[in-house]
């Protein structure tokens, strides 16, 4: 199948600031990709370029086989900007009706769409009276209009409560199952971990890592941490048996090892028998992997 979104060697400068540098990316239908990166890494800039809102300096972008911002591309792409805003004088329903008409859809679907994002009760109230999360939901509702082939969502879950976040990702699962590609950015790593197929890490405008979470975990080769609680009176014996371990003020011994060393080390520790009261193995978290890739360039 042809890819929904194809970016090659994309470069974008804002005066002296290089917001994006030679970024390449391919998104197949049905794929959910998460774009991670620190503030100012270039996530929003990349999304605006995909939407054709701002021009770029070098490289190529193809959206559903068309140029970004062309009528063909716009008909197939839905966008949720970061800090989405609407006219405060319109009601949620009026706003969604307008967006439906702009996409050539029947405006009568508006109540249904609003119900899908949990705004059925508030739909006749002016958006000016909505809470931040409710405005965000109006923004989500408008991305569901028609059958977009590509959804570009800039921090879609910001302002949503935990339950709404889960509902939102369920909505996305449904869309992806129908063949839509999804590109979303987020600062909440835990939700991204479970709910996306691919992770892209931008740092200083460059795509420093790309792949599934297990891929990235293997590539980062981060050390595994172990904590050991010595049995009563066994502190000294354990400290000599495991000289590389550091003893904390809480009496726990901490040590790290590479993935390869993990099993032999565990064997050694279990061989110590009754001297060990408890053992925890802590694999690198997504946060660790993320900082590994995004800090590599001296950030």
């Amino acid at each position: 199948m042809t890819s929904t979104l194809k970016i090659s060697a994309l470069t974008k400068r804002f005066g002296p600031v290089e917001a994006l540098r030679e970024v390449s990316l391919d998104l197949a239908p049905g794929m959910r990709a998460a774009l991670l990166g620190h503030n100012g890494a270039g996530k929003s800039t990349m999304m605006k370029i995909i939407l054709g809102l701002i021009p770029f300096d070098a490289g190529g972008v193809q959206v559903c086989g068309a140029a970004p911002g062309s009528p063909q591309a716009r008909a197939r792409v839905a966008y949720l900007p970061e800090n989405v805003a609407f006219h405060p004088a319109l009601t949620g329903e009026e706003q969604i009706r307008q967006y439906l008409s702009l996409r050539g859809e029947n405006p009568r679907q508006a109540p249904d769409l609003l119900a899908r994002v949990g705004l059925a009760d508030a739909r006749a109230r002016r958006i000016g009276t909505y809470s931040k999360g409710m405005r965000q939901r109006v923004g989500l509702a408008q991305t569901l209009i028609g059958r977009p082939q590509l959804l570009v969502l800039d921090e879609p879950t910001s302002g949503l409560d935990p339950v709404s976040r889960r509902d939102f990702y369920e909505l996305l699962d449904g869309l992806a199952a129908d063949g839509a590609s999804i590109l979303l950015s987020s600062h909440v790593l835990t939700e991204v971990e479970a709910r996306t197929d691919r992770i892209l890490i931008l740092s200083g405008g460059r795509l420093v890592a790309e792949g599934t979470l297990p891929d990235l975990r293997a590539r980062a080769a981060l050390p595994v941490a172990l904590t050991i609680r010595p049995a009563a009176g066994a502190d000294a014996a354990l400290a000599t048996a495991l000289p590389q371990a550091a003893r904390g003020p809480d009496g726990l011994l901490r040590l790290t090892c590479t993935q390869d060393e993990k099993l032999p080390l565990l064997a050694r520790i279990t061989a110590l028998g009754g001297q060990v009261a408890d053992l925890d193995v802590i694999p690198p978290s997504l946060e660790d992997i993320y900082s590994h890739f995004s800090k590599r360039d001296g950030q």
Binding site: K48, L51, G52, L53, I54, P55, P71, R74, A75, V77, Y79, P81, N83, V84, A85, F86, H87, A89, L90, E94, Q95, R97, Q98, Y99, S101, L102, R103, G104, G139, Q142
Partner: protein, 273 residues
């Protein structure tokens, strides 16, 4: 077309909620009624029916009021979207920038038409009530209504252009007031000074007609007064320009809105959200 109407519908609703419709209508009705009442006093025989006289004074009013209303409604149209942050999302929808502009134009023109229709209608009602022979002036009233809407379109276009150029509502408001002062007030003062200093010389006879046609507000005044053959009732610059043929002022007032929209379109195309 349904997309343009979707923009127009929302824009009209917003104007209704922001009380713009009420303010514009109230302003027109109030001023028109004051004028009609002031003009109702017997002014001697000027050979015209009461409605034509009312139309002549409404014309002088509209030259100031219609551009002002149009600019007040339009200066926020694009700069407001930029400031609220609603523009980027709108621009990702399958609708062209020209269509967005036309949608807003339709809504604002509808409001202007409503305000002018009700305002002039009230004044005309007064005139007809006091002078049954005033029916003869209905044609000039109708001309005033549509030419006011056309004049409004010119200044709406200009307002959108300023709105797109400044990108901030406060800046756009300043530019709009400046444009109004320049085109509607200072321009005529400058022309008057020219006539006085030239003393009816060659400059006045050759440059003045061109200068009047080049200004949409002056062309509007010429068109309505010449058409109503009530130039005598107005006086001022207009008597000096009585020689300008009707088709020329008509062409000017019809071409200016096109220029205004093209200008707005050109400015809007340069806006990067």
């Amino acid at each position: 077309m349904s997309r343009i109407l979707a923009i127009a519908g929302a824009e009209f609703r917003i104007a209704l909620r922001n009380r713009w419709v009420a303010i514009a209508t109230l302003m027109m009705v109030l001023f028109a009624l004051v004028l009609a009442a002031a003009g109702a006093a017997p002014t001697g025989d000027i050979g015209a029916d009461r409605l034509s006289v009312t139309v002549a004074s409404l014309t002088s009013l509209s030259v100031y009021l219609v551009p002002l209303l149009a600019l007040l409604m339009s200066f926020d149209a694009l700069a407001g979207e930029v400031e609220r942050g609603t523009l980027p999302l709108l621009l990702t929808y399958p609708i062209s920038r020209l269509q967005i502009l036309l949608g807003k134009l339709i809504a604002h023109l509808a409001i202007l038409a409503l305000a002018c229709g009700l305002g002039y209608g009230a004044a005309a009602g007064l005139a007809l009530w006091s002078d049954p022979g005033a029916l003869a002036g209905l044609a000039s009233l109708w001309r005033l209504v549509w030419s006011s809407v056309v004049l409004g379109a010119t200044f709406l276009g200009a307002g959108y252009a300023l709105s797109a150029l400044s990108r901030r509502p406060s800046g756009a408001a300043g530019l709009a007031i400046g444009l109004w002062l320049g085109v509607v007030v200072l321009y005529d003062l400058a022309l008057l000074a020219l006539i006085v200093s030239d003393g009816g010389g060659a400059l006045t006879t050759r440059a003045l007609p061109v200068a009047l046609l080049a200004n949409p507000a002056d062309a509007f005044r010429l068109f309505n007064l010449a058409a109503a053959e009530a130039v005598a009732a107005a006086g001022g610059i207009n008597s000096a320009a009585g020689a300008i043929p009707l088709w020329q002022s008509a062409a000017s007032i019809l071409l200016w809105p096109l220029a205004g929209i093209l200008l707005a379109w050109a400015a809007f195309r340069k806006v990067t959200p």
